[in-house]
Subunit: 171 residues, 2 copies
Amino acid sequence: MNKGYIHIYTGNGKGKTTAAFGLSLRAVCAGKKVYIGQFVKGMKYSEVKAEEYLPNLEIHQFGRSCFIDREPTDEDIKLAQDGFEKCKKIMSNGEYDLVVLDEINIALFFKLLKVEEVIKAINEKASNVELVLTGRYAPQELVDIADLVTEMKEIKHYYQKGVTARKGIES
Amino acid sequence: MNKGYIHIYTGNGKGKTTAAFGLSLRAVCAGKKVYIGQFVKGMKYSEVKAEEYLPNLEIHQFGRSCFIDREPTDEDIKLAQDGFEKCKKIMSNGEYDLVVLDEINIALFFKLLKVEEVIKAINEKASNVELVLTGRYAPQELVDIADLVTEMKEIKHYYQKGVTARKGIES
């Protein structure tokens, strides 16, 4: 059986979730089954529509919105934890070839989840499952156990010029 | 009319082409038309099948294989230049909302194309066209005129452990 590797996309630059979706698209094209769990996000971004186009792709969201201007509440914690319970099952039953835990690093950074429980779930995952973890601030404990870590580093960004997120590009 | 921005994904890390495909997926989901021109590549990677799943996505390849262990030949130069002529038309006629020039930085690095002609084509593009340039070794002249530049930086890679490219993940 193929060993499933652990990828991390982190850093302050653009392209982390985007790369995870690109990887999902490539995997579906190769006949694989893909599950994407999105932490912290509850917004119906354009990307969520990918389910409509791609067979064997399933997307679930476990959040309400990001915490740019507010503190996470008990409800955010519950949403993340319930979502993670679902992801744990999916990681361990091996039904999906590729599992993306989108923005899980952010969920960890805001203490919605504990890094120990994520490591435990990784250790208990079905061996064939390829796992992708995204989000800024990847904790060192996850970097240590990952097979592949890419930092998306912002060199230049038009948000600096006051451009806001645009439908079909960033959202 | 919306201004189309110029994105660059560069660096030695994983996820450059992958992010461009993720961005293309998101754009198609938002009802946009996407054109992907792949320089240097001629291999029918899984990702090329994305055309079958996504309406409004077109992919053309302008190469044979990468130059890891050989020098580019006149044929490689001709393929790249003919491909770039096609891309120039597509950039200027504004028919596609998002145009990806995949691995164009590599084509420039290997002198299959000249940076001056790429800059000229960018200056002459239809103003609504969002442009994505990918590949290692982005030349400084392109970084200077881009709106958004992300460096994918390799922190850890399993190729270091001797794992080769796997179908549906890297290829």
